[in-house]
């Protein structure tokens, strides 16, 4: 756990922040600034998701004074971000009425600072002197949860990045026994180069769909083909079309969970109850099988493209180990008789038949590798 080694007061606040933040905040590095308790951590780097990227803030407590509120050092590129202003009464309240016994204090501070950071970046982007950008912002600024980021450096061209949350649908609710702690969203990342001059045919922005790694177990956004961007188009025209398309695909992806579940259930009468199976997304199952005295595991992994794509199979011996003491495994097998139009029972039977022959090859392979 990242909060081991902290003085208890700091630890409870950090723990609360990590468990309750609506953003998936992580601790990258922890260390101590004290002379006499080098083991007592009192400073750490928070990695905070922002605009489909991360910002890194150093939180500096003082182990000598664990009752005092911490200070924050922002990233070098955010040197103009100064959130402590006379008009930030909320922050003033958090910092000046710091109650070291209240574990929510750090959480409140970081959440409020992040809100200030969203405003700060929005201000930066709005000040960019680019007519097209100004127009695009005016059409999408009202979207809830939109975030933007101005990136500029001496060695790279100025760019404005938007993270546009798509579709007003609660994906978490659509998944039975949903394991996700955070609300899942699909975002469109839009990157505009800053032109500063109005061009008659402005180039298309760079577009990319993004989601959390968790959501990819259900819906791999990387595999979605984005609708093409027509010259002269603006985001307000592009987004509704994209959202409609995605909505259909997400619904389909959710319905495919049941198809996979039925398939795993169909394997059970032939192979026996699975040793292990992914109960939520039904992407994986492992069975124990045998051919005479030779027992082996069958790993079945099912892609989101199932039943268009056959499941990948891999065999693992329970009796043979390689020289590094790892169980001997077969190569991944995708090439076997398959038709997406078959009933799931037939699919299961075909796999069973295929493995009936294949396990003999695997047994020979195991014995050969043992003799070497």
């Amino acid at each position: 756990m990242p909060y081991d080694g902290f003085p208890p007061l700091i630890s409870s606040q950090l723990q609360y922040l990590l468990n309750h933040s609506s953003h998936l905040i992580k601790v990258e590095q922890v260390w101590s600034g004290t002379k006499y308790f080098p083991g007592a951590f009192d400073r750490f780097t928070l990695v905070i998701p922002y605009c489909l990227d991360f910002i890194r803030w150093d939180v500096v407590y003082n182990a000598e004074l664990p009752m005092a509120p911490p200070d924050v050092i922002f990233a070098a590129e955010d040197e103009d971000f100064h959130p402590l202003h006379a008009d930030t009464k909320l922050l003033q309240g958090i910092l000046c009425n710091w109650n070291f016994k209240d574990p929510t204090c750090l959480f409140n501070l970081i959440e409020e600072l992040r809100r200030k950071y969203v405003k700060y970046q929005t201000n930066l982007v709005e000040r960019v002197d680019d007519d097209r950008l100004k127009f695009e912002i005016s059409t999408i600024i009202s979207r809830e949860g939109i975030e933007m980021h101005m990136s500029s450096g001496t060695d790279k061209p100025e760019e404005v990045k938007f993270a546009v949350p798509l579709m007003d649908m609660n994906i978490n609710k659509m998944v039975l026994a949903c394991p996700w702690r955070h609300q899942q969203k699909i975002y469109l990342q839009v990157v505009y180069p800053v032109g500063r001059k109005y061009l008659s045919a402005p180039s298309a922005p760079r577009l990319k769909l993004m989601s959390s790694a968790e959501l990819k177990a259900l819906f791999p956004v990387d595999e979605i083909k984005l609708p093409s961007w027509v010259d002269g188009m603006c985001l307000a025209e592009y987004l509704p079309h994209l959202e409609e398309l995605l909505q259909k695909q997400v619904l389909e992806a959710v319905s495919l969970i049941d198809v996979r579940r039925h398939f795993i259930e169909a394997l059970a009468p032939l192979f026996g109850r699975p040793l292990e199976a992914d109960p939520v997304f039904c992407r994986k199952a492992t069975f124990l099988a045998n051919s005479g005295p030779f027992t082996f595991l069958v790993h079945v992994s099912i892609s989101t493209q199932f039943p268009k794509q056959p499941p990948s199979l891999m065999l693992q011996s329970t009796q043979h180990v390689n020289p590094r003491d790892m169980p001997v495994k077969s190569a991944i097998m995708n090439e076997y008789p398959w038709s997406p139009r078959w009933e799931v029972m037939l699919m299961a039977e075909k796999i069973h038949e295929f493995l009936f022959d294949e396990c003999l090859n695997f047994k020979r392979y195991c014995n050969e590798s043992q003799q070497q």
């Binding site: 003085p7 208890p8 007061l9 630890s11 409870s12 590095q29 260390w31 101590s32 600034g33 004290t34 002379k35 006499y36 400073r43 150093d58 500096v60 003082n62 182990a63 000598e64 004074l65 664990p66 009752m67 005092a68 509120p69 200070d71 924050v72 050092i73 922002f74 070098a76 040197e79 103009d80 100064h82 959130p83 402590l84 922050l91 003033q92 910092l95 000046c96 710091w98 070291f100 016994k101 600072l113």
Partner: protein
């Protein structure tokens, strides 16, 4: 009162011993520390040629015409903790600041220049709170200090911020990074300034011209009158007043030298100055003795402070442990 203006500093100068003493305070402290910086701001006489146009009264913010100002840090106070004169939001707490200022013996040419923050194992960038403190300190017009040698009277805010940090990754070699900043009111941002370390040596001869001692020798009225027969009659009546004065002078001299009689000062001037060298050497020797006895006092005082601090730390640690139950 002269107008307070947002003039750019050319650089921040600090004497080697002052910087070394700050670094020593930082590295010997138990945790992060902060404190106040004192010194003066001087307008460097421009090395003008006669035909150069005299334009110093035009826009002071443009760099080419602005006067060359140097902030010289001559001393500091460090209350050995953080949040010593400001709150967690970075607002200056005026009563605490006044208390610190009163505790610091205000000496000739010493004004509040700004403040410093020294933190262990952190990035050497100003933090959220440090920015806020500097902005708040710069905005207090009563604290503005006069620019010396200025062509027209002008005041500058206590806008200097000195940041000390040690690298986040511990290294075998102790490294102390320091950076100086000036808070600019017009742009609401920090300007990084170069730090000029003033040492003794030919390269720093220019500084001797503008040198002024931080602890000047006390003003003592040396009685030049020789105890001639002419004054003998009056000596009786004024002796009481005289004695009191001598006692006062002696007290003041005792602050600088240990066991050096005020009467001996007479030997340094007038016709008795032939024994000048021996008398002066004697004075210096007594001064060294004074410094030595002060050092001993400081040492024993430090030991007591250290004892108290470790006691306090244990108490704090107890509170910290009990706090989450």
């Amino acid at each position: 009162m002269a107008a307070m203006r947002d003039l750019p500093l050319q650089k921040v100068a600090i004497s080697g011993p002052t910087l070394a003493s700050m670094l020593q305070r930082f590295s010997s402290s138990v945790g992060d520390v902060d404190g106040l910086l004192f010194g003066h701001v001087t307008h460097l006489a421009p090395t003008l040629t006669d035909d150069a146009p005299h334009t110093s009264n035009s826009d002071p913010s443009s760099s080419s015409d602005s006067p060359e100002l140097v902030a010289t840090i001559t001393s500091f106070i460090c209350p050995n903790s953080v949040l010593s004169f400001y709150d967690a939001f970075g607002l200056v707490d005026t009563p605490s600041l006044q208390r610190l200022l009163v505790a610091h013996p205000g000496r000739h040419r010493q004004h509040l220049l700004g403040w410093f923050s020294a933190r262990r194992r952190t990035s050497n960038r100003p933090s959220m709170r440090e920015f806020s403190v500097t902005r708040c300190l710069s905005s207090i017009s009563e604290l503005s200090l006069p620019v010396e040698n200025a062509e027209s009277p002008v005041n500058l805010a206590p806008c200097v911020f000195l940041l000390f940090a040690t690298p986040v990754q511990e290294q075998l070699i102790h490294t102390h990074e320091y950076r100086a900043y000036q808070f600019r009111d017009s742009t609401e941002c920090f300007d990084s300034k170069s730090v000029d370390i003033v040492n003794i040596g030919p390269a720093f001869r220019g500084h001797y011209g503008s040198f002024s001692p931080n602890s000047p020798f006390p003003m003592l009225s040396c009685d030049l009158r020789s105890s001639s027969a002419m004054n003998e009659d009056r000596s009786e009546e004024i002796s009481l007043v005289e004695l009191k004065k001598v006692a006062n002078d002696q007290k003041e001299l005792d602050m600088c030298a240990e066991g050096y009689g005020v009467a001996n000062l007479n030997r340094l001037i007038g016709h008795e100055a032939t024994s000048y060298t021996a008398g002066l050497e004697d004075l210096y020797e007594k001064m060294l003795v004074k410094i030595q006895s002060l050092a001993r006092e400081v040492e024993s005082g430090n030991a007591k402070v250290h004892q108290l601090e470790s006691h306090n730390r244990k108490l704090r640690y107890k509170v910290g442990k009990g706090g989450v139950e």
